[in-house]
Amino acid sequence: MEVVHSIRPIAAILVSVSIIPILISCGKDRPNFREAWTFVAGVLKFLIIVSMVPGVMHGVLYTFNIVHLGPGLDIGFKVDGLGLTFALVASFLWIVTSLYSIGYMRGLDEHSQTRFYSFFASSLCSTIGVAFAANLITLYLFYELLSLSTYPLVVHHQDPEAKISGRKYLIYILTTSIGLVLPAMIICYHLGHTLDFRPGGILMGTGGKTILTILFFMFLFGFAKSAIMPLHSWLPAAMVAPTPVSALLHAVAVVKVGVFSIIRIFTGIYGISLLKSLHLGTAAAYISAFTILVGSLIAMSQDELKRRLAFSTISQLSYIILGISLLTPKGMIGGIIHIVMHAFGKITLFFGAGAIFVATGQKYISKMKGLGKKMPITFLAFFIGSLSVIGLPPTGGFYSKWYLVLGCIDAHKISLLIILLISSFLNALYFLPIVFKGFFSKEDDDVDVSKYKEAPLCCIIPMIITATISVLLFFYQGIFYKLISIGLKL
């Protein structure tokens, strides 16, 4: 493998924070200028990341070291297949979301928009930082920065409800990261004398069985952004944030940072063989299977659309962890590619929810009867998103589910296979009725549907883009497959 020292990883990370001063200086007096800059930064970031794709495909490893902190401790970046996959998705969706947030925030005449865009940009910076982190300490650094920069976004509305949710968010995320990940990381350093992600892991043959098992669970639950039960309830609470935040951060960036961190722990810190020998993969698989089922069940009972989506996210995230913890090549590819597929599917759904809210002010599913006739594009996109999340062709979601199922069979875990199938069924059960009601149900008498029309163009276009890509991914997923295979060294 060729190692190239390159400035591109750090450039990709910093490009979004570097515009924050510009955003602040534009302020609310020149909103067009401000949003144009956000857009420019997004495109720039995406291009930088894309520019690394060919290299990585040919086995190049881009690295960049900032500082050396001590023996085995650096703050540095490394672009491999896994990180690049994640970064590609996140940075592309940022562009789309930027467009969407212009429509959403202006449509609702929200306050403190400059603050919103600034923290959004810094969240993205942290997300890419996590994706490119070369070692656990860098990952932890950006993980924490992400928690902090999303906090103001969650509390954006500044009403008591938002504040309580903000508190919940912080307590869950920071308590677990400081209380579990930090000590686990230090113990890990104590055992392995390094924190670099290495293909075979760094903990092989370093500690006793008990300590490694405890450490594993500290990591698994410590990265609470992955919303494994019982540490999931911050995610529904965080839905008080404006929809672009929910869409990009709480369906893509933040939660997937949690999952991605766990993937790094699996592949870079523990290593497959160690996990196999300690039977930790199975344990993690069953924990995530539990989350999948319970998450889906709770989702069915939610009437508020965003909360339903949140619980769906909780359960879908555990698909990824399940796939990874199968420890078979197909399962792992399925898990990681689900990051991509779910991202496009779920963001479409959130965009849809936001568009409905902008256009009608409706949050509750029970009051959306008949809206589909007035907002056909929105509901069509919503339908495609649902298909992708359920895992039905012709959407990308099918592809990842397929690999997950194959992985289960390879690992001889039929019980997990059954759970997967049940969950898919449940997914269909809680998503399709929304679309069905939207198109075919007769509207309630007390809701006057006739005055509604489609959301602004800025909201519609992103939705169309993501929905289209969801479909396209069914046909063209090869690039991600290849990147992930390279990342996993398969």
Binding site: D109, L141, P152, G179, L182, P183, H190
Partner: protein, 500 residues
């Protein structure tokens, strides 16, 4: 070439001599007081940098005062540890002058000169305590420091400061006297007052009860002065009601210098062998410091006044350093020393931000801080950075010292201390986000972005020197964090005594 060996003495002598000049000038021309003070501390700062540089290049420096060889006369002995701390003290003292001269003219319009004189004496005392290699000289300088601190604190809040200061005197005198008594016992048994000499003589007395008692009294005396729980009762009130300009320098430096004294006594006088092989008290001291860490955090949580909250944070941080120093391994001591460096800056920045807030809001209760982010955006930015550092979020420096402390505790298998450290971080999160929630997001009804509201959000920052000062310190916090690897490997690890 100038003889390098002039600089160690210049560090202490310049502020001292200038203190007399400032006092004299006060009667002649009051305007000259501040420039002279700045000049004095600048010279001291530059000298300490040169001294540190020569320590780095040529090892420990010895300076014989009066030309007498060590056990006979007093000596200055500068190794890496105190070299670094000297630089930090003089830097903070100098920096504080820039950030607070307008505060001083505001608080003491008529007594400005005498105030600066006292300020210089305080700095001299701290520098002298750190630089000296003589047990009794340390006591004398400690008393100069304390005396000027008592006086500065008593000048604060008219109603409460004198009482707080008097309590500080009583407890401070007990602390200093305990230390003096301990030194008396050491002198009784060894006949020497020079640290190096005593360390040498004490080797044969490891099982002496009198040396044990001497040790206990020295350490307890130092603990009282550094406000280790449960000997902390004087600290919160004294630091809360001190005048802003003095509180800013007393709070960060006084306690940290005492931690330095403790480390110096432990490792340069009594020695590792005595501490960890002869005595078996390190376990209980770590329990004590864990208790201090938690107590500080919990008490901070129950405070309504911002400044008082900060004072309890200091108490909690003291626990970190004492615990780290007593872990008895390389990593723990590294963490403790790194934390001294970091904590000086963190506490300084905390009190700077408190001072900036106080410039606009007289009563620093938390509920008065509503909307402060809008009114004072720059100060608030600095405040957020400090808060993150105290919580221990990378890449701020607080994270890295905590890292070493926890790593040291794992190596020493002190799980209680680890739990205390982590719980304290969590407490700090609650502590600061309680403030942020109040100050960042007003609970006023959904203010729409429109023209009418613009006049509403008028920015009312503190004076530029204060604000910029805070931001500079905030940047330093991050820089120290990023370069902590270099700091540890170049400045701290070479000091760590062999055998740990």
């Amino acid at each position: 070439m100038i003889d390098n060996h002039v600089f160690p003495i210049l560090i202490v002598i310049t502020p001292l001599v200038c203190a007399f000049f400032v006092m004299g000038l006060y009667w002649v021309d009051k305007r000259l007081c501040l420039p002279l003070t700045i000049l004095a501390i600048s010279i001291s700062f530059i000298s300490s940098i040169i001294t540190l540089y020569s320590v780095l290049t040529s090892g420990t420096i010895q300076y014989k005062l009066g030309g007498w060889p060590p056990p006979i006369g007093i000596e200055y002995r500068i190794d890496l540890l105190n070299g670094v701390i000297l630089v930090i003290i003089s830097f903070i003292s100098l920096f504080n002058l820039f950030t607070s001269f307008n505060q001083v003219s505001h608080d003491f319009p008529e007594k400005k000169g005498t105030f600066y004189s006292l300020y210089l004496l305080f700095t001299t005392g701290l520098l002298g305590v750190v630089i000296t290699g003589d047990l009794f000289n340390l006591y004398v300088l400690l008393e100069i420091t304390s005396l000027s601190a008592y006086a500065q604190i008593a000048l604060g809040d008219k109603k409460r400061a004198p009482f707080a200061s008097l309590n500080y005197i009583f407890i401070g005198v007990i602390g200093a006297s305990f230390y003096l008594l301990g030194v008396g016992y050491i002198y009784m048994m060894t006949g020497s007052l020079n640290m190096g000499d005593v360390a040498h003589l004490i080797h044969n007395l490891h099982h002496s009860q009198a040396i044990f008692v001497a040790f206990i009294f020295c350490i307890v005396g130092v603990w009282i002065k550094m406000a280790l729980f449960p000997l902390h009762i004087w600290l919160p009130n004294a630091y809360t009601y001190a005048p802003t300009a003095s509180g800013r320098i007393i709070a960060p430096l006084m306690t940290k210098v005492m931690v330095y004294v403790m480390i110096r006594l432990m490792y340069s006088v009594f020695g590792i062998d005595y501490l960890f092989n002869t005595l078996h008290i390190s376990q209980s001291i770590i329990y004590l410091s864990s208790a201090a860490v938690l107590f500080g955090g919990i008490m901070a949580l129950s405070q309504d006044n911002l400044k008082k909250m900060f004072t309890y944070i200091i108490i909690s941080e003291i626990g970190y350093m004492v615990g780290g120093a007593w872990l008895g391994n390389k990593t723990g001591l590294t963490g403790a020393i790194l934390h001294i460096i970091n904590d000086v800056f963190m506490t300084f920045a905390l009190f700077l931000s408190a001072g900036n807030f106080a410039w606009r809001i007289k009563d620093l209760s938390i509920h008065n801080l509503e909307d402060i982010f809008q009114k004072m955006p720059w100060t608030s930015t600095g405040f957020v950075v400090v808060a993150l550092s105290i919580i221990g979020i990378p890449p701020t420096c607080g994270f890295f010292s905590k890292w070493y402390l926890i790593l040291g505790a794992i190596e020493a298998k002190q799980y209680l201390f680890i739990i205390a450290l982590i719980l304290s971080s969590l407490l700090n999160i609650i502590l600061f986000f309680r403030v942020f929630e109040k100050s960042l997001f007003s609970s006023k009804p959904h203010v729409m972005e429109s023209k009418e509201t613009r006049s509403y959000n008028l920015i009312e920052e503190a004076p530029a020197n204060m604000t910029i000062g805070l931001l500079v310190i905030g940047a330093i916090l991050i820089l120290i964090g990023l370069y902590s690897g270099k700091i540890v490997s170049n400045l701290i690890l070479p000091f760590i005594p062999k055998g740990l």
